[in-house]
């Protein structure tokens, strides 16, 4: 529970960037006032109205800034809802602090699908494409292999043997997922209750759906799992882990060298001590800003 020492901080982070709209201040009429001091009251109302006006302008500006980056490059509206719902089941907002929603995991996933990751940019993509772990005999080209194809584990570099890129892989996976929800749950994934969603994801892990023709359910679960947690724990520069909520939870301090905020420790102290020291996390952007003369 170390990450959430004060309610104020938690509230701030919880509302974070996605909830900039929440900055809107209530109308001046609701501001409690001392009765009986009419002229002062009028003046205060006028002042407050001015302040509220300014605050609303600022909030609107912030809101529109947020909206400008909180769009989608690859996921369509249905996919957004599904990815967001999966991410929120995997990393819920709860008593231990913000989750996937506040971290902007869905935006991280979307950006990844739009980048090298989604394009398989540096992957080896020559054919043929043969599923691993097949029992023999199998014939490829004009060669017969009595022993089938070698078995690989989920995260091995040889596990991915598909002729399409990861953007397509996700599209296919999300569409199979949608179909399975309709077939077996009679409703879209996002509309299931929390238990239903959890059970659904366990179905994927257990390879229960039979309508997945590649990626397979467990493979897709694993891929989604890695991206969702990646969006919670990677540097915020990739669009997730907003306000470093994932680092607040895990106690990772990013680029803090022990004294970034004047904490008075150092790397050589940290590496030899046997009790941990909590440090405020520092993101790449913050580090770079400091290095180039900013604060």
């Amino acid at each position: 529970m170390g990450a959430w020492r004060s309610v104020e901080r938690r509230q701030f982070i919880k509302t974070g960037i996605t909830a900039v709209g929440g900055v809107f201040i209530a109308s001046a009429g609701q501001v409690p006032l001392f009765p009986g001091i009419a002229s002062e009251k009028d003046k205060k109302i006028s002042d407050l109205q001015g302040q509220v006006g300014k605050a609303n302008q600022t909030a609107t500006a912030l809101q529109s800034q947020a909206d400008q980056t909180s769009g989608f490059l690859t996921l369509d509206s249905n996919e957004q809802a599904v990815v967001e719902a999966i991410a929120e089941v995997m990393i819920p907002s709860d008593a231990n602090g913000p989750g996937a929603a506040e971290a902007g995991v869905v935006y991280f996933v979307d950006r990844q699908l739009a980048s090298e990751y989604g394009m398989n940019a540096e992957m080896y993509m020559q054919g043929p494409f043969v599923q691993p772990g097949q029992k023999g005999p199998i014939t490829v080209g004009n060669v017969t292999y009595p022993g089938g194809s070698a078995q690989v584990s989920l995260n091995a570099g040889g596990a991915y043997q598909y002729p399409f890129n990861l953007r397509e892989y996700w599209k296919r996976g999300l569409s199979f997922l949608d179909d399975y929800a309709k077939i077996s749950y009679g409703a879209p994934f996002a509309s299931l209750d929390s238990n239903g969603k959890t059970k659904f994801l366990q179905d994927l892990w257990n390879n229960k759906p039979t309508n997945f023709t590649g990626p397979l359910p467990r493979e897709f679960f694993n891929e989604v799992y890695n991206l969702v947690w990646g969006g919670f724990l990677s540097d915020p520069i990739y669009g997730g882990n907003r306000n470093m909520v994932g680092w607040q939870l895990t106690g990772f301090s990013g680029l803090n060298d022990g004294n970034f905020y004047g904490e008075g420790s150092s790397r050589t102290k940290l590496m030899l001590q046997t009790t941990p020291t909590r440090l405020e996390p520092v993101s790449l952007a913050q580090f770079q800003k400091r290095a180039t003369g900013g604060t």
Binding site: G2, A3, I91, P92, D94, N96, G99, N120, E122, M123, Y124, Q126, V130, G136, I138, V140, G141, Y145, S149, A150, Q151, V152, S153, N155, A156, G157, G158, Y160, Q161, L201, W205, F221, Y225, N226, W229, L233, S234, D235, Y238, G246, W247, L249, T250, G251, F252, S253, L255, D257, G258, R267, K269, L270, M271, L272, Q273, T274, P276, T277, R278, L279
Partner: protein, 588 residues
């Protein structure tokens, strides 16, 4: 399209990694002209600034490593199987992780070092003399190095000087080791391990590291910076040094060679053939694609194949040099005799101690710990045992990990949701430390582990990729089964709690990745029937072709941590090439 033909040089070097860089430095400072052709860019250490601590792209997607879109390798466990290619980096060590650019694979190296012990230069002879051959796996293909420890100590010292290797000088199992820099400061856990093992009669020594513990000037006049303990190379040991403290050719040998004016370093250029003359017994130079895809020819009096381990072998096969290993007849030598320093998934010992710390951001990837070699190599009696070699036991290195590692291989039906999330609270700030010791013995090269050209897959230019056929031998598990309980004793004596031996039985392992320290395939040896290079690192088949790399190492000893077994080869090869250029012909 006609090729661009460059003027002849004395030596053409394929690759500017650790071995290519050392040879370039030695030859150019001796006045020879060298062209070094490197497939990736030249990034100096200052280029890593601002990109550090980026686990997602640097570790998981390895944006500074070899793009697999150029080529990959395929992997299977036995010759009856089809081999699927490794298609992507996932953050889990895919193995055979090739470097890209000056520095090569040493750019993403942890810096772990340690000399090969005298016994491990003659593992076959020493084993058979002392225990008979029946202790070896029935399908073993084990051979000795073609020289002794004492023959090569001077070369090893030169290489250690080049790097500014940090370590202490009291290792009883590698006599005469005198490292130029002192070890990195030990952690309290390492000190406890040292004191405990000493009291048990063992012989602890500081971790030997390729990361400089102090500022240093090497024999070529290159100023080496000291480690700043930023922890960046830690994590899962795959990040690049941003201050130049880590021993890589980019910050040691290549700057020295460039300073002489005798080195023509060509980056972003991919060698795809070693050209031979009409007799097939002499190389005329190398052929490569420059960054625009144009074919270039670099004529040379001698060629030094210093590519990454598996790429050395692949270039030999693509160039028609030597006799490819034929699994059916067990003849031929190119691609033969794969081995590794260890197998990852055998029986282990683990325990927990009340010594925590920040899992980030401090230390480095190879210092801080202590090691005992009392259960390594032949440092204990193997009579009555069913394995050879053993394992180092190392404890107390600096903590190093990045947060994504917490979840990377955790996908499972219950590892999500609020309960799982709660397990991650302060996971980077542990108050206790769990230690797992994996003491698996060396993989013995067998007649069933080999490399050849894949019949189905090609690279971006249409040439076949390398296929690796490899599985664990029967040596690793018995070694781990024997040593793990001994390791658990040490943990108990140190005050660990929850000490356990975690058994893994043979057959429950699954080899779906390759160690980055893959050895063999182009072995050194005394017999050309089962080796590719002689003791001067000279090809048996093409007399002006020399090489260095982990693929030349015939045995997966326990002590060298991989890299120590390859670095000094360049210093032997440099002597060999000088001898050859003075008097061409096979060297005796």
């Amino acid at each position: 399209m006609s090729a661009v033909v460059h003027p002849q040089v004395d030596v053409a070097i394929i690759g500017a990694g650790l071995t290519g860089g050392s040879l370039a430095a030695v030859m150019t400072t001796a006045g020879y002209t060298v062209a070094c052709i490197e497939k990736g860019p030249y990034r100096n250490f200052t280029d890593w600034d601002m990109t550090k601590y980026d686990e997602w792209m640097v570790l998981n997607f390895r944006k500074f490593d070899h793009p697999l879109s150029l080529w990959s390798f395929s992997l299977r466990n036995n010759p009856d199987q089809y081999a699927n290619p490794i298609r992507r980096y996932t953050g889990v060590q895919t193995g055979g992780t090739m470097g890209h650019g000056v520095g090569g694979a040493s750019q993403h190296w942890a810096g772990g070092l340690g000399r090969i012990s005298p016994w491990a230069y003659k593992p076959y002879t020493n084993t058979v003399q002392k225990y008979g051959s029946s202790v070896l796996p029935s399908n073993h293909d084990l051979i000795d190095w073609p020289f002794e420890y004492s023959d090569v100590v001077a070369y090893m010292e030169e290489w250690e000087q080049e790097g500014g290797v940090s370590g202490d000088n009291q290792d009883p199992f590698t006599p005469g080791a005198k490292y130029p820099l002192p070890p990195h400061p030990p952690t309290p856990l390492a000190e406890l391990f040292r004191d405990t093992t000493e009291s048990m009669g063992y012989h602890p020594r500081s971790a030997v590291s390729g990361i400089a513990s102090q500022p240093y000037v090497n024999q070529f006049g290159v100023q080496v910076n000291s480690c700043v303990y930023c922890g960046w190379c830690g994590g899962p040991c795959n990040y690049h040094c941003q201050v130049g403290a880590k021993f890589t050719s980019a910050f040691r040998s290549i700057p020295a060679a460039l300073k002489t004016g005798n080195l023509d370093l060509r980056v972003n250029s991919i060698v795809y053939r070693i050209d031979l003359d009409g007799t097939g017994k002499k190389a005329t130079g190398v052929r490569y694609y420059d960054e625009r895809g144009n074919v270039n020819v670099q004529p040379a009096k001698a060629v030094f194949n210093a590519a990454y381990s598996i790429n050395v072998v692949r270039l030999l096969l693509l160039s028609g040099i030597g006799t490819p290993y034929d699994h059916a007849t067990k003849t031929g030598s190119v691609g033969r005799g794969l081995t590794e320093t260890s197998a990852p998934s055998a029986t282990s010992a683990s325990g927990t101690i009340d010594m925590g710390g920040n899992r980030y951001p401090a230390g480095n990837a190879s210092g801080g710990g202590y090691t005992i070699e009392d259960f390594a190599d032949d440092n204990f009696d193997h009579n009555g045992l069913n394995f050879i070699g053993g394992a180092n036991i190392s404890v107390g290195g600096y903590l190093g990990s990045a947060p994504g590692q917490l979840t990377l291989t955790s996908a499972g039906p219950n590892n999500f949701g609020s309960a799982y999330k709660a397990t991650l609270i302060d996971a980077m700030l542990p108050t206790k430390r769990q230690v797992t010791i994996r003491p698996s013995g060396p993989a013995i090269p067998t007649s069933d582990s080999f490399e050849d050209l894949d019949p189905h897959y090609v690279d971006a230019f249409g040439d076949p990729i390398l296929r690796i056929t490899d599985d664990f031998s029967t040596n690793e598990n018995p070694a781990a089964d024997y040593i793990a309980p001994l390791a658990s004793n040490i943990l108990t004596k140190m005050g660990f709690t929850d000490v356990k031996v975690n058994p893994v039985s043979l057959g429950n392992q699954h080899k779906d990745r390759q160690s980055a320290h893959i050895r063999g395939g182009a072995r050194l040896g005394a017999d050309r029937a089962n080796s590719v290079f002689n003791k001067w690192m000279q090809s048996w088949d093409v007399e002006n072709l020399f090489a260095a790399g982990e693929c030349l190492v015939p045995f997966g000893d326990n002590t060298s941590q991989g890299t120590h077994a390859l670095g000094f080869q360049s210093y032997i090869a440099a002597d060999g090439i000088k001898k050859y250029l003075q008097s061409p012909g096979p060297l005796a």
